[in-house]
Amino acid sequence: MSNLVILIPIALGLGLVGLLAFLWALRSGQYEDLDGAAERILFDDDDDRPPARRGRR
C-alpha cells in the first residue's frame, strides 16, 4: 500500500510532464508543418526555429 502512494504519483507526474511538453510544442508552433519538418532536417543551412515562436518575440 505504501509503495503505491509513492509510485502512483510518480506515474501520474511523468504523464503530466508528457502532456505539458505536448502543449508547449503545440503552442510554440511545432505542429504547424509536420511534412515540412520531416524535410527540413535534411537541409544544411536550416533555421530550425518554428515560425510562430519567432513571430512572438
Partner: protein, 739 residues
C-alpha cells in the same frame, strides 16, 4: 482560362486589381512588412529550399518560410508594402505560382478551433492512458483479492484525473449539445455529453460509497476516441481554402471618361452614364460594357468568356467590363456600367445558383438524426425496466442505463466517416487535388454525368506556339530572347517555349505593336503583322500570330493556338469507363468547339453557351435526376459550378471559380478529375463498410448492456476494438494501387 489573372502572370502592369499584392501586405509598426502567399507546385523539401533561398537572397527579406503541409508561404521584410510585388515576382521566377491571401480570414474561427480540439485531444489522451493504468490494476485486483481499501484508492485517483479531464476535453461536445438542446433539436453530441456526464457523476457517486464498478476509464476513453474523430473531421474540412474573393474589386476603381470638350475625368466605374465616351489605355482593365468607337487592338476577355487567347477588336466591336485592353488605347461608348454589366450579371447568377443548391445532408448526419433519439430511448427503457419492472435499486438501474449510453456512444460511428475522409483527402492532396468542401467526397461518389468547359479545362487555356518544329532553332531562340522582357501573353508564351534563351539587351517595346532591337546591321522586330510582317498580305487563318523580322531574311510567322491538355482524351475515356456521361459546354464559337469535340471523341457538346445557358443546362440535367459534376474555370463557368451537384476547377482558374468549386486540381494534366472520382467512390465504399461495422457492433453489444452484463472492462474492450477495426478498414484506402 488563364493564368493571366493570377498574380504576376497577368499580362500588363499596374491597373488590374488582382495583380497587386500590396493590399495583402501587412505592415508592422516598426517598418517591417509581412506577406502571406499560397504557393502552388510545392511538393518536396527541394521546392521549399528553392523558394526560401531565392527570397532570402533579397537583402530586404528578413525571414521566409514555406509550410509544406499547407503550401503556404510567409515572408517578412524590412520596408513598406511596395516591395510586395518584388517578393511575389521572386517566387514566380523560382518557378512557382503564388497567390496572396489574408491570413485573418483563414485563421479566425478555424485555427482557434483546430488548436482547441488538439489540446482537448491531448488532455483526453493523457487522462485515458493514466486512468486505464489504474483501471487495469483494479481489474487485475479483482482476480487477485485486492482489498476494498486499495480499490477505493485507485478509484479516487481515477476520479482525480478523469473529472478535470472530462470538464476540459468534453467542452467541444458540451457546447454543441447545449446549443442543440436550446434550439429544441438533438444531435450526436447530446447522447455523447449525456453519457460522459452521467458516467462521470455516477462513478463519483460509486467511488464515494466504495462501490465496485466505476466508469471513469470508459468516459475518458470515449472522449479520446471521439475527439480523434472530431479532429480528423475538422482537418478534412479545413485542408484547402481558397484565397479571398476578389471579384468585387474589379467593379471598384475608376475609369477615364471623355466629356464633350475632350477633357478627361476620372469617374467611379459604377457612375458612368450610358452613352458616355470611356477611354481605356493600353494595359488597362475596361470598366464598362460598351462598343468600341475608335482604336483597334486586342482585348483579353479571359475573365468573362474563359477565352485566354486575346480577341481582336475594331470600331464597332462590343467589349465588356472586366476585360483587359492589351493593345492601343480604345475609345468606348458605354452601354452599361456598375450593376448593369455582364460581369455584375454573372456574379448575381452565381449567388442565385449557390442559394438554390439543395442543402446536402451528409450520410453521417442522416444517421445521427435517427441515432440520437434511438440511443436515448434505449437507455431510458433500460433504466425504467430495471427500476420499475425488475425491481432493482435505482442506482443499479441507472448504472445499467449508463452502460447502454456508453456502449452505444458512437465511437466507431464518429471515426467511421472522418477516418476515411482524411485518408482520401490526403491521398488526393498528394496527387494535386485539393478538396475544399467536406461533403465533396460524398457528392463526387454519386456523380453520373460530367460536364466540361472547353477552354482552360480541356485545353490549357493559354496560348502556346503552334508547329514549333517548323520554326528554325535560331529564329526561335532570337524571338524568345526578345520576348523575354515583355508581358504580352504571346511574348510570354514564346519565352516559355525556350526558357534558356539568352535575354536580349536593349529591347524597346512599342505598345500595341511589338518589340524592336536595334543592332549594327539593322533592326530586329517582333510583333504584329503590321509591325513586323510582310506588307499587304492577308492572314491565311485566324490564328494569333507574331512576326519576326530580321535584316536580310524574309519575315517569319509564329502562329499560336490553345493546346489541349495532353491527357484530355485518355481522361475522357477513363471517365466513360467509370460509367459517366461526358458532355462539353463551351462558350466559344461553334467551329472551335466542334474541332475539340472531334479530336477528343465527345458526342454530346454545344457551343456558344452564355453563363445563363450553362446554368440552365445544368438545372435541366439536375431536374432529370442526373448528378452532375461540372469542371470549369472561367468566370463564365462560375454560376454553372455553383449550380452543379459538385464541381472541380483547375488551379489556373480565376479565384472566384476556385472559391465556388468543391475541389481544385493543379497542374497541366486533366487526369486528376478521373482520379478524384475513383477515390471518392472507393471512399464511399469504405465509409459504408465502416458504418455497417459500427452498427453490427452495436447490435451485438447493446442487448448485453441492456441485460446489465457489461462491466467497465467489457465496455473498454469493445469500444477500443470497434474503433481500431474502423480505422484499420479506412487505412485500406491508402494501401491499394497508387495511381
Amino acid at each position: 482560362m488563364s493564368a493571366s489573372v493570377a498574380l504576376g502572370t497577368a499580362p500588363p502592369p499596374a491597373d488590374g486589381p488582382e495583380v497587386t499584392v500590396e493590399p495583402f501586405v501587412r505592415s508592422g509598426g516598426d517598418g517591417r512588412s509581412t506577406l502571406h502567399l499560397m504557393v502552388e507546385g510545392v511538393h518536396c523539401g527541394g521546392c521549399v529550399r528553392t523558394i526560401e533561398r531565392a527570397l532570402l537572397a533579397d537583402p530586404a527579406v528578413e525571414h521566409a518560410r514555406v509550410n509544406l503541409s499547407t503550401r503556404r508561404l510567409v515572408v517578412g521584410w524590412r520596408g513598406g508594402p511596395g516591395l510586395g510585388g518584388r517578393i511575389a515576382a521572386t517566387v514566380e521566377r523560382a518557378g512557382f505560382r503564388a497567390v496572396p491571401y489574408d491570413p485573418d480570414q483563414l485563421r479566425g474561427a478555424d485555427e482557434v478551433r483546430d488548436r482547441q480540439l488538439l489540446r482537448a485531444l491531448a488532455v483526453a489522451g493523457f487522462a485515458a492512458g493514466n486512468v486505464m493504468l489504474l483501471s487495469v490494476a483494479v481489474w487485475a485486483g479483482a482476480f487477485q483479492d485486492m482489498g476494498p481499501a486499495t480499490r477505493s484508492l485507485m478509484h479516487w485517483f481515477s476520479a482525480l484525473i478523469a473529472l478535470p479531464a472530462i470538464a476540459y476535453a468534453g467542452r467541444p461536445f458540451f457546447g454543441s449539445a447545449f446549443d442543440a438542446l436550446r434550439h429544441g433539436r438533438t444531435n450526436m453530441d447530446v447522447p455523447i455529453s449525456l453519457a460522459v456526464v452521467l458516467a462521470g457523476s455516477m462513478s463519483l457517486f460509486e467511488t464515494i460509497r466504495h462501490g465496485e464498478h466505476v466508469y471513469f476509464d470508459s468516459a475518458v476513453m470515449l472522449l479520446f476516441f471521439l475527439l480523434i474523430g472530431r479532429y480528423l473531421d475538422h482537418r478534412a474540412r479545413g485542408q484547402a481554402r481558397s484565397a479571398a474573393e476578389r471579384l468585387v474589386a474589379l467593379e471598384r476603381g475608376f475609369v477615364t471618361v471623355l466629356d464633350a470638350a475632350g477633357v478627361r475625368h476620372a469617374v467611379p466605374a459604377a457612375d458612368v452614364a450610358p452613352g458616355a465616351t470611356v477611354l481605356a489605355g493600353a494595359g488597362e482593365r475596361i470598366g464598362v460594357d460598351g462598343a468600341v468607337i475608335a482604336g483597334a487592338g486586342e482585348v483579353d476577355t479571359s475573365l468573362i468568356t474563359g477565352e485566354s487567347v486575346p480577341e481582336r477588336v475594331a470600331p464597332g466591336s462590343r467589349v465588356f467590363a472586366g476585360t483587359l485592353n492589351l493593345g492601343a488605347p480604345l475609345r468606348i461608348a458605354a452601354s452599361a456600367a456598375g450593376d448593369g454589366t455582364l460581369l455584375a450579371e454573372i456574379v448575381r447568377l452565381m449567388e442565385a445558383a449557390e442559394q438554390r443548391r439543395a442543402r446536402f445532408v451528409v450520410l453521417a448526419d442522416r444517421i445521427a438524426r435517427a441515432y440520437a433519439p434511438a440511443v436515448h430511448s434505449l437507455a431510458l427503457i433500460t433504466f425504467l425496466a430495471w427500476w420499475l419492472v425488475l425491481g432493482a435499486a435505482w442506482q443499479v438501474a441507472l448504472l445499467y442505463a449508463i452502460a447502454v449510453l456508453i456502449i452505444t456512444c458512437p465511437c466507431a460511428l464518429a471515426l467511421a466517416v472522418p477516418a476515411v475522409q482524411v485518408i482520401a483527402s490526403g491521398r488526393l492532396f498528394r496527387s494535386g487535388v485539393l478538396l475544399k468542401s467536406a461533403t465533396a467526397l460524398e457528392r463526387l461518389a454519386e456523380v453520373d454525368h460530367v460536364v466540361l468547359d472547353k477552354t482552360g479545362t480541356l485545353s490549357l487555356g493559354r496560348p502556346t506556339l503552334a508547329a514549333v518544329e517548323a520554326v528554325p532553332e535560331d529564329d526561335l531562340r532570337l524571338a524568345a530572347g526578345l520576348a523575354g522582357g515583355s508581358r504580352h501573353p504571346l511574348a510570354r508564351a514564346l519565352a516559355a517555349q525556350v526558357p534558356d534563351a539568352p535575354a536580349a539587351e536593349g529591347v524597346a517595346e512599342v505598345p500595341g505593336q511589338g518589340l524592336r532591337l536595334g543592332l549594327p546591321d539593322g533592326e530586329i522586330r517582333l510583333g504584329s503583322r503590321a509591325f513586323a510582317g510582310p506588307p499587304g498580305e492577308a492572314p491565311e487563318d485566324d490564328r494569333l500570330e507574331l512576326w519576326l523580322a530580321r535584316p536580310g531574311a524574309a519575315p517569319r510567322r509564329l502562329a499560336f493556338g490553345d493546346r489541349l491538355r495532353d491527357d484530355a482524351a485518355p481522361t475522357l475515356r477513363r471517365l466513360e469507363a467509370l460509367g459517366l456521361e461526358v458532355e462539353m459546354l463551351s462558350g466559344d464559337r461553334r467551329p472551335a468547339a466542334a474541332a475539340v469535340a472531334k479530336a477528343l471523341g465527345i458526342d454530346h457538346w454545344s457551343a456558344g453557351r452564355s453563363p445563363a445557358d450553362k446554368v440552365a443546362r445544368l438545372e435541366a440535367l439536375g431536374a432529370a435526376g442526373c448528378k452532375v459534376l461540372m469542371v470549369g474555370d472561367g468566370l463564365n463557368d462560375a454560376p454553372a459550378l455553383a449550380a452543379a451537384h459538385v464541381s472541380i476547377s483547375p488551379s489556373s482558374a480565376i479565384d472566384i471559380s476556385q472559391n465556388t468549386a468543391d475541389a481544385v486540381f493543379q497542374g497541366d494534366r486533366l487526369m486528376p478529375v478521373a482520379l478524384t472520382i475513383e477515390v471518392a467512390r472507393r471512399a464511399r465504399r469504405l465509409i459504408r463498410q465502416n458504418l455497417a461495422l459500427a452498427l453490427a457492433y452495436n447490435l451485438i453489444t447493446v442487448p448485453l448492456a441492456m441485460a446489465g452484463l457489461v462491466t467497465p472492462l467489457i465496455a473498454a474492450l469493445s469500444m477500443s476494438a470497434s474503433s481500431l477495426l474502423v480505422v484499420g478498414n479506412a487505412l485500406r484506402l491508402q494501401l491499394r494501387g497508387q495511381p
